[in-house]
Amino acid sequence: MNELLRRYGKPLTGLAVFLTAFWLLFLVILPYFDMFASSFRPYLPAVDVGGPKDVYSLNNYLTIFENADWHFFGFTFPMTIHLWVFILTILFSCLTTIVSLLMCYPLAYFMAKVISPKGLATFLLLLVVPLWVSELLRAFAWFIVLAFKGPLSLTLQNLGVIAEPIRWTWGLWGYSGVLIGLTYAYILFMLFPLYNAMTSLDTNQIEAAEDLGAKWWQTHWRVIIPHSKPGIASGSVTVFMLAVGSILVPTLLNSPSSSWFTEVIYNRMFDQNDWNGGAAYAFLLLLVCIFFVTGMMRYFRVGLADIAK
């Protein structure tokens, strides 16, 4: 702070501090606070807002448990469609994270330890170029590629691999398209933290492990993965949170039997105009995700500081 004052003088420092505070307070904290407060109030016609019916309760949150039976292999569970979508959203976000990790680990290792610096520049460019295209267009591209009788099916048919066109987005309980789309959209958020973590590993350590008799997988298991853990954690948290919160990809690449929890929130807010209910669901999702992520971090013994690295 003193450094700032010395460098820019009082008026400029004051302005910068004021603008930052204004932005934080009026554009971040207060809107969130307002949404948080309204999530506890019922959705009422405009006349009743502020009236005797406008009381705080947990009703908006509890609707997710509203009784509706769900049948599965002849068993009946007290399961609402919202809760089911909620669980599937978390589950497939995890799967997206795992698939991204499995794809990125060898790639990051290749980039950090194998490829020559000259090749790396080209390689990085090839990886980043698709990111210059908007997320919407990229999701549409996959929508076209995966379409029934789309290019993928046609190519495979012409090659004689498959006889009939396939509905690519209908697999995995209707979530295969979403899984592909989300993995494609957020994979770089996994790749770069991993790559960063691996470049900071001294190559001598890999060689030392090898020299002491370790097989390649032992070197990875005991030396490279433990070193990369902060990168793995950071990438996983980012991909998971982005996947859970994504709405574009699940809307475009869903199937008749799939839905994403963000879509439920969207419907409540914009189709039913129930902002209170939508806010409640949004906070519910946030809360569960925070618990889930901190729980996973505990389990894998990664600190927040590691992720910040």
Binding site: D202, N204, E207, A208, D211, L212, G213, A214, K215, P226
Partner: protein, 367 residues
């Protein structure tokens, strides 16, 4: 527990650059062998070829008489100590030491026992549960040695492992390494650019330059009878005179320079026609006011005297403005000549070596 190493006509090319050029040498079992040379001379490349991280472009590497081509570093009976030690920072000291056993599937109790035993061997007790970052430089050094010894290698490869330590510790670790080598009788190959280290520790030394071995011999011979100009000027200090041989008889001759003609001893392979130079060690130079019979004499002016404690280094110039050095043992009764004084240096013909210029000499001078 110990093995010989033989390099047969080994060369290594990186693209168009030849890092190691047709090197042949045989290292005996249980020997402490050093490769000594300036940076970029190919000594580390040799070590990496022996350990198996790279395969030679040409030639053979044999360990214990067995050709090592195609055998990976994890299958060779070698253990390497890296320049930066490369301890695993996330493992405790004992896990580090026992890593080689862990990957071979030894159970935990056996691993722990072996680690403790090795910690005793390197005289480092009570740190088994610590992380490498919690140790001092010298302690980390010992852990690295213990970790390498844990896999019971027949051959230890050391890549300038002492270069990161301060002077006192370095000198202590020299003696320590030597003692551990004698105790375990494992063949040691030691890489260094520090001639003091190489001479003090090794049974034999190979002096390298530009990918080639210039001389392989015991330390005394390397220092006292270098085979060419490069070895003479890289190992220790030397006064150098250019000139021509005017007469040759057996191993002696006359060498004519711009400051006089000297009686000299001829080095290996020197003949009347060869391109060569005269080398005189600073410690073989004496000061006298009058020329001494049977000695070569050069008039000089003293420029500076630096007192080092047990000896003093006298910097001087001859008439041709050539810089010369003399080392005088500390003796209060016979102090070195005063700065600015004009006097003579004398040196015996058997201490005046005429040595061949090598390609490497020219290279070293350009540097």
């Amino acid at each position: 527990m110990t093995a010989s190493v033989e390099l047969r006509g080994v060369s290594m090319d990186f693209d168009k650059y030849r890092a190691v050029d047709n090197v042949s040498v045989k290292i005996e079992p249980g020997e402490f062998f050093s490769f000594l040379g300036p940076s970029g001379c190919g000594k580390t490349t040799i070590l990496r070829m022996v350990s198996g991280f790279i395969e030679p472009t040409q030639g053979q590497v044999l360990i214990g008489g067995q050709d090592m081509r195609g055998i990976g570093p994890n299958k060779r009976p070698t253990a390497m100590i890296f320049q930066n030690l490369a301890l695993f920072p996330l493992m405790t000291v004992w896990e580090n030491i026992a890593f080689g056993l862990e990957v071979r599937g030894a159970d935990k109790a056996a691993r722990r026992a072996k680690a403790e035993q090795l910690l005793d061997l390197v005289e480092l007790q009570g740190v088994a549960e610590r992380l490498p970052a919690q140790l001092s430089g010298g302690q980390r050094q010992r852990v690295a040695i213990a970790r390498a010894l844990a896999v019971e290698p027949k051959l230890m490869l050391l890549d300038e492992p002492l270069s990161a330590l301060d002077l006192k510790l370095r000198q202590h670790m020299r003696a320590e390494l030597r003692a551990i080598q004698k105790r375990t009788n494992v063949t040691f190959i030691y890489i260094t650019h520090d001639q003091g280290e190489a001479l003090a520790m090794s049974d034999r030394v190979a002096v390298m330059s530009r990918g080639q071995i210039q001389q392989v011999d015991v330390p005394q011979k390397i220092y006292n009878t270098p085979t060419n100009g490069f070895v003479a000027s890289f190992v220790g200090e030397n006064n150098k005179f250019s000139g021509t041989l005017t007469s040759v008889s057996k191993a002696e001759g006359k060498f004519k320079t711009d400051v006089g003609s000297f009686s000299v001893t001829l080095g290996e392979g020197v003949s009347r026609e060869s391109k060569c130079r005269l080398y005189v060690r600073p410690e073989h130079v004496e000061f006298t006011l009058k020329p001494k019979t049977g000695f070569n004499s050069v008039p000089i002016t003293v420029e500076d005297v630096s007192f080092e404690g047990n000896f003093a280094v006298v910097h001087m110039r001859d008439k041709a403005a050539r810089r010369l050095l003399a080392e005088v043992r500390n003796d209060p009764a016979r102090p070195p000549p005063a700065v600015g004084s004009a006097t003579n240096i004398v040196f015996a013909p058997d201490k005046a070596l005429v040595l061949l210029d090598s390609e490497a000499t020219a290279y070293a001078e350009k540097e």
